[in-house]
C-alpha cells in the first residue's frame, strides 16, 4: 500500500514539470488543479483504508535513494495514515476551490508548478520512516511553500514575509536535524525503527524534547516562534493559505507526535510542562493578536496560532497522563488533540476559502473596507458563518466537541501525582476557557464587520457571488464540519488505532452507545450528544416559527434603522473593526500590547475632525526578534572589516586559525 501511496506522490511531483510546460495557457490551471484534486482524493481514500484497518502489504518499503549505504525508508502506519487523511482531505478541498479561484490568478505560472510539489512534499513527510528522508521532505515542503508565499513577489510585504519565513523554516529544520542526530546516537541509526528501539538517557531525551518542540513548534506557529506565520500565510494565494494554515501546521503537529510520543520512549512527568506552557500561551496570545488585526486573512492566520495552542495543550495533557501511567486519560487527551487537528483543518480551510472568495469578489482583505457582503454573496456568507460558528467552539458544530473533550481531560488531571502539574493544569484550563470566549468574540467581529452591516467601500458594494467550484468546496467543508459536530462518536472511533499505538489505550467505543452520544469515561460522569442538541434546536426553532406564523403575525414592513433621531447616518457611523475591538483592547491590550489611546479634540466651535490615535507594541517581536536581528546587524557591521584586509593580514588570519584548530585537537580528550 505504501508503494501505491508513493506512486501517487510521484504523480503529484510529476505534475510540476507538466505545469511548467503548460505555462500560462488558459487550461493549465484546470488541468493542474483537477489532477491535484483526483490525486489527493485517491491518497486520502488510501490512507483512510489503512486507518480503518483494511491495509494490505507491504506497509513499509526501502528505496535505493538518498544516502547510498542507507536507502530511503517509507512506511505507512495508523498515525501517518490519520494525518494523511487530514492533509489530503484539505488538499482536495483546496484544489477544488482553486479550480474556480485559480482563474483570478494574474500570473498562474508562478503558482501552478509549486502547488502539486507542495502537496507532494507534505505527503512525503508523513510517509518517511527515517530521519534523512523526513528532513529532506520537510525541507522540500518548506521550500515549495516558500515559493508559493512569494508568488506575488512584487509586493514588498510579501518579500519580507518570504524572508522571515525562510529564516524561521531554516531554524526549525536545524533544530529537528539536531533532535534526530541525538536520537540516532553514536551509531548513526537514522531509521525510525532503530530510534524507537534505542532508549536515550534522561538528559538526551530532555534535549530531544526541547529541540522537537522548537522545531515542530516553529512550523506549527507556537508562541513565541510564530512570528513568520501571520506574515507568510496571508501572503500566499488564498487556496495556498488554506493549505498552509489548515494543513501544513498539522504536518508539524505530526512531527512533534512522531518524535515525542513514538520515537522518544516513555515520558517523564515534567515533559508536559513546556508543552502546556507554550500551548496555553499560544492559545491566548494567538486569539488576542487576531482580535487586533484588520486584515481578514491575518485574523485567520493568528487564529491558527490559537488553535495550534489548543492542540498542544491537549498533547501536553496526554504526555502528563502517559507519564503517570493513566492510559485511559492519556487516550482521551490524545483523542481530543487529534479531533481538534481534524476539526481545525476543516474549518480553517473553509474560512480561508471564504476569505479568498471575498478577496476575489472585492479585491479587499481589509475589514474596514468590507461590509454588507451577506446581501451580495449570500452563499459565501452562509458557509463562512458555519465556519465561524465551528471555530468559536459553539454547539452543535464540530469545534465544540474537541474543546469539550479537552475540558473533560482537564477534569481528570487532579489525579496526577505531581504537584507542579496540579498547580499548572487549572491555570491552563482557565487560559483555554479564556481563549475559547475570545475566539467567539474574534469571529463575531470578523463575520459581523465583513459580511453584516452596511458596505464600507464601493468594492464591497459591487461584490458578486463567487463561482460554483469554490462554493462546492466550501459547502463540502461546511457539511463535514456539521457532520463531525453532530456525529462525533463515529469520527472518534476511527482514531482509536492511533491512540492505541501511542498510549496503549483507547476511548470507549462510541459507535454503539445509544442515541450516538459521546461518553469519554462513563455516562454518569459526562456525555454529550450533538445530534440531539441539533435535533432539539431544530424542532423547537421550527415549532416557534410555525406557531408564531400560524397563530400570531407573519407580516413584515421595511423602514430605516433608528439612528437616535439623526436621519441618513452614513456607513461611516457604523462600528468599525477597530472600534469593535476597543473594549477588549482596553481590558487585555493595555497589559499585553501596551496599547495606549490618545484622543485629540478640536477647540469648541472648530470644524476640524477629532482624532483618536492608538499605539500598540508587539511584545514578542520587540523583546525577542528585534534584539536578535539587531545583534546580527551589529555583528555583521563589525565583521565587515574582514573584507578589506591586506594579503599579509589574511595570511596571518589563516595561520592563527590553523594554530587554534591544532590546539583544539591537542586539548580534545
Amino acid at each position: 500500500m505504501v508503494v501505491t501511496a508513493l506512486e501517487g506522490v510521484l504523480a503529484l511531483v510529476a505534475l510540476a514539470p507538466i505545469a511548467i510546460a503548460l505555462g500560462a495557457s488558459a487550461r493549465a490551471s484546470s488541468i493542474v488543479y483537477g489532477a491535484c484534486l483526483l490525486l489527493t482524493l485517491a491518497l486520502g481514500i488510501l490512507a483512510l483504508l489503512v486507518l480503518l484497518g483494511h491495509a494490505s502489504e507491504p506497509l513499509a518499503v526501502t528505496l535505493p535513494m538518498g544516502l547510498p549505504w542507507l536507502g530511503a525508508h517509507f512506511r505507512i502506519d495508523v498515525l501517518s495514515a490519520f494525518f494523511l487523511v487530514v492533509i489530503n482531505l484539505g488538499g482536495a478541498a483546496a484544489s477544488l476551490f482553486a479550480l474556480g479561484y485559480g482563474r483570478h490568478e494574474e500570473e498562474p505560472q508562478r503558482v501552478l508548478p509549486f502547488y502539486p510539489a507542495y502537496l507532494a512534499g507534505m505527503n512525503l513527510v508523513l510517509l518517511s520512516a527515517d530521519a534523512f528522508s523526513f528532513l529532506v521532505s520537510w525541507e522540500f515542503m518548506s521550500l515549495t511553500s516558500w515559493a508559493l508565499v512569494i508568488a506575488h513577489h512584487r509586493d514588498k510585504d510579501n518579500l519580507r514575509a518570504g524572508f522571515v519565513y525562510l529564516l524561521m523554516a531554516g531554524f526549525g529544520t536545524l533544530t529537528l536535524l539536531l533532535a534526530f542526530g541525538l536520537l540516532a546516537g553514536a551509531g548513526g541509526a537514522y531509521d525510525f525503527d532503530a530510534m524507537r528501539a534505542a532508549h536515550p538517557t534522561t538528559g538526551i531525551a530532555a534535549l530531544v524534547l526541547i529541540l522537537a518542540l522548537l522545531g515542530a513548534g516553529s512550523k506549527a506557529g507556537l508562541v513565541p516562534l510564530h512570528a513568520w506565520l501571520p506574515l507568510a500565510h496571508p501572503a500566499a494565494p488564498s487556496h495556498v493559505s488554506a493549505l498552509m494554515s489548515g494543513v501544513m501546521t498539522k504536518v508539524a503537529v505530526y512531527g512533534f507526535i512522531r518524535i515525542v510520543f513514538d520515537l522518544l520512549g516513555a515520558p517523564d512527568w515534567w515533559w508536559s510542562l513546556p508543552v502546556l506552557t507554550l500551548g496555553a500561551a499560544s492559545a491566548v496570545m494567538g486569539v488576542l493578536y487576531a482580535l487586533m488585526q484588520r486584515d481578514l486573512k491575518r485574523v485567520l492566520a493568528y487564529s491558527t496560532i490559537e488553535n495550534i495552542g489548543i492542540i498542544f495543550v491537549a498533547l501536553g495533557l496526554a504526555l502528563a497522563f502517559k507519564a503517570s501511567a493513566m492510559n485511559a486519560a492519556a487516550a482521551l487527551a490524545l483523542t481530543a488533540a487529534l479531533l481538534h487537528v481534524f476539526n481545525h483543518s476543516l474549518f480553517k480551510n473553509l474560512l480561508f476559502c471564504g476569505a479568498g472568495a471575498v478577496l476575489a469578489a472585492t479585491g479587499e482583505r481589509d475589514l474596514e473596507k468590507l461590509g454588507g457582503l451577506i446581501h451580495r454573496m449570500p452563499q459565501t456568507a452562509f458557509v463562512f458563518l458555519i465556519g465561524a460558528t465551528a471555530i468559536s467552539a459553539l454547539p452543535p458544530l464540530n469545534g465544540f466537541v474537541s474543546e469539550w473533550l479537552t475540558f473533560q481531560a482537564i477534569l481528570l488531571s487532579p489525579q496526577l501525582p505531581s504537584w507542579g502539574l496540579k498547580l499548572m493544569v487549572p491555570a491552563v484550563g482557565a487560559l483555554l476557557a479564556l481563549s475559547a470566549a475570545l475566539a467567539a468574540a474574534c469571529f463575531v467581529r470578523a463575520f459581523g464587520i465583513a459580511f453584516l452591516s452596511r458596505p464600507r467601500s464601493d468594492a464591497a458594494r459591487n461584490a458578486r457571488e463567487t463561482d460554483s467550484n469554490s462554493l462546492a468546496a466550501m459547502y463540502g467543508l461546511a457539511a463535514l464540519c456539521f457532520v463531525a459536530g453532530i456525529l462525533p462518536g463515529l469520527v472518534i472511533d476511527t482514531f482509536a488505532p492511533v491512540t492505541e499505538l501511542l498510549t496503549g489505550a483507547r476511548m470507549p467505543v462510541q459507535g454503539t452507545i445509544e442515541w450516538l452520544s459521546i461518553v469519554p469515561i462513563a455516562e454518569s460522569r459526562s456525555s454529550y450528544n450533538g445530534l440531539l442538541v441539533f435535533a432539539f434546536m431544530a424542532v423547537t426553532g421550527a415549532f416557534a416559527a410555525f406557531a408564531i406564523h400560524r397563530l400570531a403575525s407573519d407580516k413584515i414592513r421595511r423602514g430605516p434603522a433608528w439612528g437616535c433621531g439623526y436621519p441618513d447616518a452614513g456607513p461611516l457611523t457604523q462600528y468599525s473593526a477597530d472600534s469593535f475591538a476597543q473594549p477588549i483592547r482596553r481590558v487585555f491590550g493595555t497589559l499585553i500590547f501596551s496599547a495606549r489611546e490618545q484622543g485629540e479634540m478640536p477647540e469648541p466651535g472648530s470644524i476640524l475632525p477629532a482624532r483618536l490615535t492608538v499605539r500598540m507594541r508587539d511584545p514578542i517581536w520587540e523583546t525577542l526578534y528585534a534584539p536578535i536581528a539587531g545583534f546580527v546587524g551589529y555583528a555583521g557591521e563589525r565583521l565587515n572589516v574582514l573584507q578589506f584586509l591586506t594579503i599579509r593580514r589574511y595570511l596571518s588570519l589563516v595561520f592563527g586559525a590553523l594554530v587554534l584548530l591544532l590546539l583544539v585537537l591537542a586539548i580534545w580528550p
Partner: protein, 318 residues
C-alpha cells in the same frame, strides 16, 4: 412505559420553564417597584407584553439580512433547550445526558454569538456598541463560569447536572471553601450574563448605557417577543442552576410519586421566588457600574472561581 413516563416529564419540564419564565421576570420587576415604593406593573404584565408583541407587525431595518430574521428563532431555541436541561423539580430527565453543564454553557454561548451578530447586522452605531461590549463581558464571564463548573465538577465527580444535583443533595458534600467561592463567583456571573444591575440595566433606554438593549434595538414584533422570552428563560435558567447546584433540596431523582413531585414543584417555585426576591433587593441597593469597571467585577469572579478550582486540585478536602 418508562420511556413514555420520562418523555412526559421532559415535556412537562420544557413547558414549565417556558410558562414560568415571564412570571419570574414580572415578579422581579414587581418587587423592585415595591422596594422603591411604587405600585409597579402587574405580575402578569410580561405575558401581556409578549402576546402584544407577537401580534404586531415586524418592522425590519432597510439593511437587515436573512440572518437577522433567523436569529431570534435560533436564540430562542438554544436558550429553551438549555433551560429544559437544568433539573428543576425532578432530576433524571430523559435527555439530561444530551448536554452536560459545559455543553449547556456553550449553548448559551451560541445564543450570545448570534445575538451579537444581530446587533451588527443593521449597520448602526448602537448595535455595534452593544455587540462589542457584550463580547467583552462574555470574554470574562464565560471563563469564570467554566472555572466554577470545574470546581463543582471536581467535587461531584461529574459534569452531568443530574449527577451533580444528586451529589449536592447527599450528606457527603459538607461545607467546603471551594463551594463558597464558587457560589459567589456564580452569582456574579449570573448577574453579568443576564444583563442586570450593576453590569447592565434591563430597564434603561438611554442608548449609551445599554448593552443587551442596544443589540436588540432594531428588533420589533414577534422577533422582539422571542428575544424577550429568551432573556426571561435565561434568567430562569440561572436561578434554577444556582438552586440546583447549591440548594438542591426537594429535587427528587427518578420518582414518579405524586406527593414527592408536588413537594419538588413547590420547593422549586419557592426557590425561584427567593432567587427573584434576592435579585430585586440586590439590584435596588446598588448603582450601575461604568462599562470599564465591569471587567474588574468579572475579573474578581474569574479569580474566585480559579481559586476554587485550584483548591480542588491541591486537596480533596477543600
Amino acid at each position: 412505559m418508562a420511556v413514555i413516563h420520562d418523555l412526559a416529564f421532559q415535556g412537562a419540564q420544557m413547558l414549565l420553564v417556558l410558562l414560568l419564565s415571564p412570571l419570574l421576570t414580572g415578579f422581579v420587576r414587581k418587587v423592585k417597584a415595591r422596594l422603591l415604593r411604587r405600585q409597579g406593573p402587574p405580575l402578569l404584565q410580561p405575558y401581556r407584553d409578549i402576546i402584544r408583541l407577537m401580534r404586531k407587525d415586524v418592522v425590519l431595518a432597510d439593511n437587515a439580512s436573512w440572518l437577522f430574521r433567523v436569529i431570534p428563532y435560533l436564540i430562542f431555541a438554544a436558550t429553551w433547550v438549555a433551560a429544559a436541561l437544568v433539573p428543576t423539580f425532578r432530576s433524571g430527565l430523559m435527555f439530561s445526558w444530551t448536554a452536560d453543564l459545559i455543553a449547556l454553557i456553550a449553548l448559551l454561548g451560541s445564543a450570545r454569538f448570534f445575538l451579537a451578530l444581530a446587533g451588527m447586522d443593521t449597520g448602526t452605531a448602537f448595535g455595534g456598541i452593544g455587540s462589542s461590549r457584550e463580547v467583552m463581558i462574555a470574554s470574562l464571564a464565560e471563563p469564570a463560569m467554566l472555572m466554577i463548573v470545574f470546581a463543582i465538577a471536581l467535587i461531584a465527580g461529574s459534569t452531568q447536572l443530574s449527577t451533580m444535583a444528586a451529589f449536592m443533595n447527599s450528606p457527603e458534600v459538607g461545607l467546603r471553601v471551594s463551594l463558597g467561592l464558587g457560589l459567589i463567583a456564580l452569582v456574579i456571573v449570573a448577574i453579568a450574563e443576564n444583563g442586570r444591575i450593576p453590569v447592565d440595566n434591563p430597564a434603561t433606554h438611554l442608548e449609551l448605557t445599554m448593552v443587551h438593549e442596544a443589540m436588540v434595538l432594531e428588533y420589533s414584533g414577534r422577533h422582539l417577543a422571542l428575544i424577550e422570552l429568551a432573556a426571561s428563560l435565561k434568567l430562569l435558567l440561572y436561578v434554577s442552576l444556582i438552586a440546583c447546584l447549591f440548594a438542591p433540596w426537594g429535587i427528587s431523582s427518578t420518582t414518579s410519586d405524586p406527593a414527592l413531585l408536588a413537594l419538588g414543584s413547590a420547593a422549586y417555585v419557592a426557590k425561584l421566588a427567593a432567587g427573584g426576591f434576592l435579585l430585586a433587593v440586590f439590584e435596588t441597593s446598588i448603582a450601575k457600574m461604568r462599562v470599564f469597571r465591569v471587567p474588574e467585577f468579572l475579573g474578581a469572579a474569574l479569580m474566585l472561581a480559579l481559586l476554587a478550582a485550584l483548591l480542588r486540585f491541591v486537596s480533596r478536602s477543600f
